[in-house]
């Protein structure tokens, strides 16, 4: 399934947040959206998943949903959004219950996704017992359980320390390698963007519009930390963003 954004603009009251964003997210690829803080990249992600409505423009889904897909557009949140009163398997089962999947069918799916995220041994643990990295892996397992057509990731690694981030990036690359998924990945971290993105979309400062789209052809599995090609891309991105980031930093919040 493909996602297309057609001329999306948005304003909150008087503040123009996004202007004329047109973008297509190809099937089976990870599209990273980067930009300075406050450029509306998270807002854009909420439009794609239907959690918020743009003032103008449309988000279109093109093509058939994959078989067995319960929730085509599925989020992974920065702060994990796990229910603290449910165990790991309970958090996964939450998103299956409303589809009438219970008992043995549910157990099969839960066991499968926990195995894929290496959480099998923690099925009965409560979120408060888990480290940040594990919590995010639970959220990834929960997202995989509904067999999504597109994963919408909102700064999924930003709440984690840098070592855990490295490990989780490897996990994501491994998961993509096993079964390529379509994803929109919002981040302010350029290193994450060049490691995970097939296509990187650079947004400008508010009002956010597309400054540049960069395609990186190198296969995900061959991208390693300290890779020279990637460093060059990262440098290029930073050149694009530096002045904007500085200006964004000097802005008053809500001014």
């Amino acid at each position: 399934m493909k996602i297309e954004l057609a001329d999306i603009s948005h304003r909150y009251g008087d503040a123009e947040v996004l202007r004329d964003i047109s973008l297509s997210i190809p099937d089976g690829q990870i599209v990273c959206i980067v930009g300075p803080s406050g450029c509306g990249k998270s807002t854009l992600l909420r439009f794609i998943g239907g959690l918020e409505k743009p003032s103008a423009g449309q988000v279109l889904q093109r093509g058939e949903m994959p078989a067995g897909c319960l929730n085509p557009l599925t989020y992974i949140f920065q702060d994990f959004a796990l229910l603290p009163w449910r165990s790991v398997s309970g958090n996964v089962s939450l998103v299956l219950e409303d589809h009438g999947i219970r008992g043995r069918d549910a157990t099969k799916i839960i066991d499968d996704v926990l195995e894929r995220t290496r959480l099998t041994d923690f099925a009965h643990a409560l979120p408060r017992q888990l480290s940040g990295g594990m919590k995010q892996r639970v959220a990834i397992a929960r997202a995989l359980a509904v067999n999504p057509a597109v994963l919408l990731m909102d700064e999924p690694l930003s709440a984690l320390d840098s070592q855990t981030r490295e490990l989780l990036m490897d996990d994501l690359i491994m998961l993509w390698g096993r079964q390529p998924f379509t994803a929109v990945y919002v981040t302010h971290n350029l290193a994450e963007a060049v490691r995970l993105g097939h296509r990187i979309v650079v947004l400008s400062r508010r009002p956010g519009c597309i400054r540049k789209v960069i395609d990186i052809d190198k296969p995900l599995a061959e991208r390693k930390p300290g890779d020279h090609d990637l460093d060059a891309f990262q440098q290029q991105l930073w050149e694009l963003m530096r002045d904007e980031a500085r200006a964004a930093d000097a802005e008053l919040i809500n001014a």
């Binding site: 998943g49 959690l51 319960l70 929730n71 557009l73 599925t74 989020y75 949140f77 702060d79 959004a81 229910l83 603290p84 009163w85 449910r86 939450l94 998103v95 219950e97 409303d98 409560l126 979120p127 408060r128 929960r142 509904v146």
Partner: protein, 266 residues
């Protein structure tokens, strides 16, 4: 040592501000106070009119128990407490959740709740007698009404405090409205609701005595009022202590409920 000058250890200035439960300290305070009163009344520096002797109070309690009157007073009181509080708390939680979820209900009811919260419910007892009769009905109504308002306020505050990202998460996975309320909003509001219950149920016990002021032959409240009007301090204290124990039991029950329902908290 190459360094010159004074060497001092860095003074510790952290710690504190983290009270912990120390077992049996509470009990020691109780026992000490009672022992003090006993000593004072026996030694004579507390006169019998100021404070009854604790051992006499105990004696009175034993008489009350052995005459069988204890349960004759306690059973109807507990009945009133349970029925009244159950009605008030149920309607209160229901209303609080609705206020927490719907803009129109919130805008319509929050000012109304603010208006009826400060009314001393005891003042309305005559009204309840007219509406619900001099029997049990007016007593249930008084206790129910008294527990209703604090429960509503605690509940909608708790619903407001439910983590919005969890609700967005529920929506993003296509959960139904009803599922979001049942599986995310209610459990998320439970800590606030339970701590609100502590207050509501204490108010219920206070109102129990008020409810039994009118037309109750038996009941802890009636017993206390009768002793009070006769200046029978021993019996007055027996009644008051029964109410205190009731309060401690209720608080213990809520504590147990918290332990069971909120074991997911840090």
């Amino acid at each position: 040592m190459p360094e010159q000058g004074v060497v001092r250890e860095v003074a510790f200035r952290g710690g504190g501000f983290a009270p912990k439960t120390r077992r049996r300290v509470g009990l020691v305070v109780f026992v000490a106070l009672i022992a003090l009163a006993e000593w004072g009344t026996r030694a004579g520096w507390i006169s019998a009119l100021t404070l009854p002797r604790p051992s006499d109070v105990l004696q009175t309690f034993i008489e009350l128990y052995s005459s069988g009157l204890l349960f004759k007073h306690l059973v109807p009181s507990l009945m009133r407490l349970v029925v009244g509080a159950a009605i008030g708390v149920t309607i209160g939680i229901g209303t609080g959740v609705l206020i927490g979820l719907f803009s129109y209900i919130r805008s319509g009811l929050v000012p109304l709740i603010a208006a009826i919260f400060p009314i001393p419910k005891i003042a309305l007892l005559p009204l309840f007698v007219i509406w619900f009769g001099i029997g049990e009905g007016s007593k249930y109504a008084l206790i129910a009404f008294g527990t209703f308002t604090p429960t509503v306020v605690a509940t909608y505050g708790a619903v407001d405090n439910v983590d919005r990202t969890l609700i967005r998460m529920g929506q993003s996975f296509g959960l139904t409205w009803f599922s979001i309320v049942r599986k995310i909003v209610l459990p998320g509001a439970m800590p606030g609701i339970l701590s609100g219950l502590r207050i509501s149920l204490a108010i219920a016990i206070i109102l129990l005595v008020a409810a039994e002021m009118l037309g109750a032959e038996y009941g802890i409240g009636a017993y206390i009022l009768e002793a009070g009007s006769l200046y029978d301090l021993e019996r007055l204290f027996v009644g008051v202590i029964i109410l205190s124990v009731l309060g401690v039991v209720v608080s213990g029950l809520i504590g147990a409920a918290e332990k069971r329902l909120l074991n997911w908290r840090v």
